[in-house]
């Protein structure tokens, strides 16, 4: 047995992969020997005719995370994901799921494992064209011999979850690509697996639909908290979805990390190339570039405190909050000086033409606001508490890949 909770890890490791290798061909052992001797993939193919799909890969996937595997075509990512449910039988190595090495499963154990632990969503959907949407979604349950009423109930629920209510009796080929993949997703969800394997599920969809599906997957995941292994060749998708991203090249994993880490500290040139053409506006979120709001004025403070605060920080406006740090408005230096003369209270000179945003928003969506606004953008949480502010320059520097711009506005 393997120790699931390693010291220092807050999250449980759901899947642990150790030294996994997959060779395609009739004499895989020879290929493995040659690999150990340090032969290159190409040389092995030329000399022995064996193709190395996955080359000695080790990593772990945490429970409840979206683990994205990215790579160019031929990098072995699809081969790797097919090892998790043994659609590809690994040539050597171990895959531990919930403390059991699944590689050695016999037929009946494997079937049970596939029925209960994992479900897969395919790039080409893999829907059964002779069954209705409902029939497709019911499939996994039917295989498990769940009673008719029960599986109908579960399937209808899954269909509703993916937004296909009312389409139950349609045939898959009557639906658009996006809707077909929703069926694929519903089929997987109906099985209520711990682990979702998604093999380039959105690659066949057009960009608009793809983005929509990505967001919906994130929504679903926030509710369901599955362990998801997600394959893609689209770096934007990887960084948008992934809690952690593994980059594959030539059958090996060349870097694993959170999207930001990979983006900012590419471990080698290959990854640098890979992330070069990434659209950072879709990766970098408000929380990545916001600054601490050092200068804040409480509502009960007077106008003078506000003036002093601005003078100290060298700024021309300051946000006003209540005692719970909830945003109330903004005051400018000019208004404050005038109010001081007129004896007005802070409350009377509050302005409201600022923008707020939540911390998860991508800077892509902040660019327009940044251009329009006179004041820094306020990052708030759901209770309207101020978490930080974003100044225009930090959006621009965020685009260039430098974290936490230091310049301040005004």
């Amino acid at each position: 047995m393997i120790n699931l909770k390693q010291s220092g890890d807050k999250m449980a490791e759901k899947i642990v992969v150790k030294n996994l290798t997959k060779v395609f061909g009739s004499r895989p052992r020879i290929a493995i020997e040659r690999l150990k001797k340090g032969w290159s993939k190409r040389r092995i193919l030329e000399k022995t005719g064996q193709t190395i799909g996955v080359n000695n890969v080790s990593f772990s996937v945490n429970e409840g995370e979206i683990f994205v595997i990215i790579g160019l075509s031929g990098s072995g990512k699809s081969t790797l994901i097919r090892c998790f449910n043994l659609l590809n039988q690994p040539t050597s190595g171990e895959i531990w799921v919930d403390g059991e090495n699944i590689v050695n499963y016999d037929k009946s154990k494997l079937r049970k494992f596939r029925q209960e632990k994992m479900a897969m969503v395919f790039q080409q959907f893999g829907l059964f064209t002779h069954r209705t949407v409902l029939g497709n979604v019911e499939y996994g349950l039917e295989i498990r011999k769940v009673s008719k009423e029960e599986r109908r109930k579960i399937a209808l629920q899954a269909i509703e979850e993916v937004g296909l209510k009312g389409w139950e009796e349609k045939m898959p080929q009557e639906l658009s690509g996006g809707m077909q993949q929703r069926v694929g997703l519903a089929r997987a969800l109906a099985n209520n697996p711990d682990i979702l394997l998604m093999d380039e599920p959105f690659s066949a969809l057009d960009p608009l639909i793809r983005r929509e599906m990505q967001s919906e997957l994130l929504d679903l995941q926030s509710k369901l908290k599955k362990t998801i292994i997600f394959i893609t060749h689209d770096i934007n998708e990887a960084f948008k979805l992934g809690d952690r991203v593994a980059v594959m090249k030539g059958g090996s994993i060349v870097q694993i990390g959170a999207p930001e880490d990979i983006l900012n500290n590419p471990s080698n040139e290959y990854i640098e190339d890979f992330v070069k053409d990434i659209d950072r506006t879709k990766i970098v979120q408000a929380k990545d570039i916001m600054q601490r709001a050092n200068a804040l004025v409480s509502l009960k403070d007077g106008v003078r405190v506000a003036i002093k605060e601005m003078q100290v920080n060298g700024i021309s406006s300051v946000y006003v909050v209540d005692k719970e740090r909830r945003i109330q408005g903004i005051v400018t230096i000019d208004d404050c000086i005038q109010a001081d003369k007129d004896g007005k209270a802070l409350k009377e000179i509050l302005k409201y033409d600022y923008f707020t945003t939540d911390q998860e928003v991508y800077i892509q969506e902040l660019i327009d606001k940044a251009v329009e606004t006179k004041y820094p953008i306020v990052v708030v949480n759901t209770e309207n508490k101020v978490l930080g502010i974003i100044v225009r320059t930090s959006i621009l520097t965020g685009l260039l890949g430098k974290k936490n711009g230091t310049s301040k506005e005004n």
Binding site: N85, L87, L110, R111, K112, F113, R114, Q115, E116, M118, A119, M120, F122, Q124, F125, G126, L127, F128, T129, H130, R131, Y139, G140, E142, I143, R144, M171, R187, N191, L197
Partner: protein, 615 residues
Amino acid sequence: MLANFAGVVEANNKLVEADQKPTLVFADAGWDSIRIHNQIAAVIIEKGYGYQTDVLTGSSPIVIKGLRQGDIDICMEAWTDNIIDVYQPGIENGEIVELSINYDDNAQGLYVPTYVLKGDEKRGIEPLAPGLKSIKDLPQYWQVFKDPDNPAQGRIYGSPPSWSADEILRTKMETYQLEETYDYFNPGSDTALNTSLVSAYEKGEPWVGYYWDPTWITGKYDLTLLADEPYNQEKWDAGYACEFPGVKVTVAVNGKMVEKAPEVVAFLKNYQTSTKINSELLAFMQDHGADIDKTVTWFFSDYEDLWTSWIPQEVAAVIRENINPDQTPVKADFTKFPATLSFSLGIYVEKVISWLTENFQSVFDWLKFGVNGIVSSIKKILAFIPWFILIAFIFLLGWKVDQWKSGLLYALMAFFIGALGLWDEMILTLSIALTGVMISIIFGIPLGIYMAYSKKMETVMKPLLDGAQTMPSFVYLIPAMIFFGLGTVPAVFATIIYSMPPCIRLTNVGIRGVPIAMKEAAYSYGSSAWQVLTKVELPQAMPTIMAGINQTTMAAMSMVVISSMIGAKGLGENVLIAINRTDIAMGFDAGISIVFLAIIIDRITQRISERQKND
């Protein structure tokens, strides 16, 4: 150089000669003695008179038709009584000229293998009908000759249809009241009759039926002609209550021969043999690998007195010179495949088949019993349904799978078949075809699935299937006949072999065509192989499999019709009789009925398969 030049001149001379003298065409009506006579006459005509000769093959009435129309010039054996309907009018209007009587001391009637009467100690056969002497004893022994299609009666193998013996025997059955205990079985053709006799003989089984002498069979096998009243005209006219008179077997030629080849006509006028000579020739031939050339060479050396008496001295001298192999130097002719290299593959197949029949007879009997049961129950069900209900059913089926107009059309077609008086025949054809299709599907689909799963199996099966479908369908009749005799069961058997390949093939194609992504998806949800097959692959492949079943059905229909040659009853039998009688009206009625039946079945199964596809 000079020699070559001479050769060219010689060849040119031959060409000129060939131009001047027409090619004379012999009738080959299918049995061995006529072939031997053809060959003998051909040698004399070619070597002695310098004509080219050729042969046209057909059933007896057809070659006589050909003789009358001038497609055929010479018929060496016209069994006049058997073909009287076509022959006599030809004589009367001068289309045919009868030149001589080849022989008339022949015999025909009902034969049984002698071991049935006396047993055969060497082969361990008990005499099954020791008291059977004459036709009149037959009712006592009907159980010995049980009809496999109808075990409540005996079976008498009848004459090939359209031979006059056919009509005579049917009447004789009534006259002697044999029909109470025996079924008069139409063997479909003389070849089928031969096969049934030979295979029964080889197995040592009882057999009673029409046969005639001389043939190689009567030469080779020990058969006994059942006694009958001695021939006299009075009894003959009163329901053929006596033995057959000897049939006049004549040499007949087309009327124009007299001008076209007068010297040949003169020669043929002298052509005469006897039953004895014929039997000797046939036995010789049978003993020498059925080689006609050898037999004829033997004839020319051993019967010199006979053949020289037919022709003038000088012609005989020329022939003698030409046929002596020592005097003709053998030139290497590379345009001809060397005869010494030839061998027959069929011999081995024959050996395997006879080994099978010897060792697995009980299996075949068991199969026979089973298949017979299926056919007769389908037949009973179909025959039990009143005709109008069956037509209504066809209408509804057509409506359901297509539209009411189609249903109406199919119903009208079925009605039309009934109106032609062929309803019962249609039911028979249908029940044999349905049995064949059912069994084909039961075996074909699993085989197709196996083929789709196993690369090896596909490699083995593909050429077999190609071969099975390209092989002329007639060929299947032979093993079917040998294993199962004549009648319904071999027809079903032949139908199965012929109609199963499309079912296997398209099941294979259908299953292989299921997208891998779909199968992977099914497996990824933990399906067992059986679940993948039944829940994904078969439903996915169903449109293709249905197309295969449609093809299978059509193949079965066509084979059932052909199977009439080995005694399958139904629409095909009518076609066959019509061919033999060259009866246009009868042939057309039966033919159009087959077409209509085929259209009904084809359209309905096709629509079903299309609907599968669209769903």
